[in-house]
């Protein structure tokens, strides 16, 4: 079977973050991790082409998946494989969106990334095969992928036995007793020595790899972003007041302040009286502009990004974060100040 492999700029050896903005390109045959994958696949399947795209380009451009899919088809793909993205968010998002587009178009496809990769949700119904957390686990990951490709090529569906990521979905159910009753039961169990019982696991923490500091804010491009739902008055683009599914961007070039009556917050989760009387209380444009003028900020980025945090699922918020990071990096922004409510 003719396989097309998708990797990011780093896996293809085209560069690191400096090359994250490059657009799609097609390379002949197997490249980077594809070489080992080709070996593991043996003679029956050939990697005929490798498609490469920079992470920022792929993650910040919603049309990128269709563009990449078109390239894969032109290269004669009968099956598409993406990754391994391991834990990398932008790469994972690109891989996930591409297999979702392929799957929707009827092209057999699979992605591979760590089950905790924040991009995984975008794969939709397309199969994702579990990768390790880091590139150190390249070989066992590709062994699973090669076996999964062989199975997928026969037309069979992948299962958990193939390393397909089984999402643990938390499904709401009506049960016999109301929550207050169950809380009393749980307290009594804990008092009786059972320290493990809980209906939701406790103690989980998100760990985020710290970005390196900027050398000097005085020479950096700094962006303002917020989840406080600051929009032009009247909310012309209909940002949700709760449970955001999207984010927006607004120009602030040449603007010294966010004036009351011109901007407002449509957030549903907190009292907005104070913010609407002075929207700088949610997005500190006036102060940032002054500091820019005085030289404490190299340059303020020309637009701000905004969504609403109120009731927004963690999965959606993670996706916005990946997309914002990609957008800002593409624009050369080195630091962002996020105001959170």
């Amino acid at each position: 079977m003719r396989i097309v492999h998708y990797v990011n700029q780093f896996s293809a050896g085209l560069g690191g973050e400096d090359a994250a903005g490059i657009g799609p390109r097609v390379l002949e045959g197997a490249v980077g991790p594809g070489r080992l994958l080709a070996q593991l696949l043996g003679d029956e399947h050939q990697i005929v082409a490798t498609i490469v795209c920079g992470d920022d380009y792929a993650a910040s451009n919603t049309a990128a998946a269709d563009e990449l899919l078109g390239l894969a088809r032109n290269a004669g793909a009968e099956l598409l494989v993406t990754g391994p993205a391991f834990g990398s968010g932008r790469y994972g998002l690109a891989c996930a969106r591409l297999v979702a587009a392929a799957d929707a178009a009827g092209l057999p496809a699979l992605a591979t990334m760590h089950p905790d990769n924040p991009g995984i949700a975008d794969a939709g119904a397309a199969p994702v095969v579990a990768a390790g957390a880091t590139t150190r686990e390249m070989r066992p990951t590709l062994q699973r992928v090669a076996a999964a490709i062989a199975k997928l090529a026969t037309g069979a569906a992948l299962t958990a036995a193939d390393g397909r990521v089984a999402k643990a979905a938390r499904i709401g159910r009506l049960v016999e007793h109301r929550a207050a009753h169950r809380a009393v039961e749980l307290v009594l169990r804990r008092l009786g020595g059972d320290r493990e019982s809980t209906e939701i696991p406790v103690g989980g923490f998100d760990a985020v790899d710290p970005a390196a500091p900027v050398d000097k804010a005085a020479s950096a491009i700094v962006a303002l972003v917020t989840e406080g739902a600051v929009v032009p008055i009247g909310n012309p683009d209909r940002l949700e007041s709760a449970r955001a599914t999207r984010w927006l961007r607004y120009q602030i070039d040449g603007m010294d302040t966010l004036a009351s009556g011109v901007w407002e917050s449509v957030a549903g989760g907190f009292a907005t009286t104070a913010a609407n009387a002075d929207p700088n209380r949610l997005l500190p444009l006036d102060a940032a502009r002054t500091l820019e003028r005085e030289g404490a900020i190299g340059r303020l980025h020309g637009e701000f990004m905004v969504t609403v945090g109120n009731g927004t699922s963690v999965a959606a918020a993670r996706r916005f974060g990946i997309e914002w990071a990609a957008e800002l990096r593409k624009a050369g922004v080195q630091a962002a100040i996020l105001t959170a409510t």
Binding site: R164, I171, G172, I200, V202
Partner: protein, 424 residues
């Protein structure tokens, strides 16, 4: 302290009529009397409707919900609003069980929710199972929304007292004795002393809960007489997250207090109630949490169940209290709703405790399909679905009033199920 007796009258049907009247489980609501009770310069008009279980009716944009309660002619319930805070406590309180009065209609800052009286959503809201008197209202020209909101709230409370007054002379269906909490230092018979901490949202206009008629913002946590909560000392003026809302009805019928009372003397001692604000500033959140844990310890609690109102930062209030209690050697359980996305695959909690245990009241994001209904009250459009109010719609559980009740009124929970690939 005097004990309280609930004198229970079971309401099995409700209708609008000429004069308010209660007899043989049937409640008639006098139309003109309702108008008089809502007379206020901030309101141009009110209209009373009935919505009862099984009706194909949808209530759009519900505001507060109140259970009719009165201590007899002259009221005595809802102190700070329609009774003096310094009236005689305890004694008999007449309760129209199975009935509720609620307001519905546009109010800025009210996050739009709904109640269905039939279909799947009726199972999820406590108010899909009550015989409801629904008040629609028009704001008066020149009145502010804040003034209109206060007028509607006061009107609802007056109506609740007025309806319960109609049953004062009727033979009760049940009389329920509510003992005071177990006193610290008295013998426990080897049973653990378990109490409840209830956080009240305190974020200013349209986001506030009142204790004796005043906001709890700026207060420290306090031990509180549960008999006074029964009598409506805690009144909601809070219009955030519909599914995560605690209407006045649920404070009066506080589910955790009820469950603790039910087990009192069997496998625990009901140790008491602590009310606590949900401050907007992190330092204050930490202060009230540490103070609440200290208070529970000083009052001799062995364990506490912790409840909240709202989402996001309210989860931080829960987390801080559970952690403070457990660090102090008390056993803690918190009630959380999950926010794991429509398909349930996202992380369930934004800010969960590091210790203790958590009860799940369901997934905020899970979609519910609602069939079309015959009529709607409170509005003609359902904004969240951008649809006619009566049409078949799909909404997140988050939109169904008190469906994820942080006070534990509902039977929803979530269970982890392995599944392959996309379920979205």
């Amino acid at each position: 302290m005097s004990a309280l007796r609930r004198v229970v009258h079971e309401v099995r049907s409700v209708e609008i009529g000429v004069a308010t009247h209660y007899e043989q489980h049937q409640l008639v609501v006098g139309r003109d009397q309702v108008e008089g009770l809502f007379a206020d310069p901030a309101l141009a008009a009110v209209r009373a409707h009935v919505a009862v279980p099984g009706d194909r009716v949808r209530i759009i944009a519900p505001l507060d919900v109140v259970e009719p309660r009165s201590k007899g002619p002259g009221g005595g319930t809802f102190p700070g609003w329609v009774a003096s805070v310094n009236r005689k406590r305890g004694g008999d309180t007449h309760v129209l069980r199975g009935a509720a009065v609620l307001a519905a209609g546009h109010l800025p800052r009210n996050q739009e929710g709904l109640i269905d009286m039939s279909g799947p959503a009726a199972q999820l809201s406590p108010f899909g199972r009550t015989n409801n008197v629904v008040i629609e209202f028009d704001r008066a020209d020149g009145a502010s929304w804040q003034e209109a909101e206060v007028a509607v709230r006061r009107g609802l409370l007056r109506l609740a007292v007025h309806l319960a007054d109609a049953a004062v002379d009727a033979a009760p269906d049940a009389i329920e004795e509510l003992a005071q909490p177990h006193r610290p230092g008295t013998p426990t018979g080897g049973l653990p002393r378990v109490g409840v901490i209830t956080n009240l949202q305190t974020q200013g206009a349209f986001k506030d809960v009142f204790v004796y008629g005043r906001s709890m913002a700026g207060s420290l946590p306090t031990l509180f007489d549960p008999a006074e909560i029964e009598d409506g000392a805690v009144v909601s003026g809070q219009y955030g997250h519909p599914a995560l809302r605690n209407p006045t009805y649920l404070h009066c019928n506080h589910p955790v207090i009820a469950e603790l009372r039910a087990r009192d003397g069997q496998d625990l001692r009901f140790a008491g109630v602590v009310l606590c604000p949900e401050p907007v500033e992190q330092g204050d959140k930490e202060l009230v949490s540490t103070h609440a844990a200290w208070l529970c310890r000083a009052a001799g609690f062995d364990a506490a169940i912790v409840t909240k109102e709202g989402a996001g930062n309210a989860d931080n209030d829960l987390m801080l209290k559970v952690d403070a209690l457990e660090a102090d050697g008390l056993t803690a359980v918190a009630l959380y709703a999950e926010m794991s996305g429509a398909d349930g695959t996202g992380p369930p909690l934004v800010a969960g405790p590091r210790r203790g245990a958590v009860v799940s009241t369901g997934n905020y994001d899970q979609r519910v399909k609602l069939p079309a209904v015959e009529r709607a009250l409170g509005g003609t459009r359902l904004g969240i679905a951008d649809a006619e109010a009566t049409s078949a719609v799909e909404v997140p559980t988050a939109a169904i009033l008190s469906a994820l009740s942080p006070l534990g009124a509902g039977r929803l929970t979530c269970r982890s199920e392995q599944q392959l690939g996309g379920v979205a």
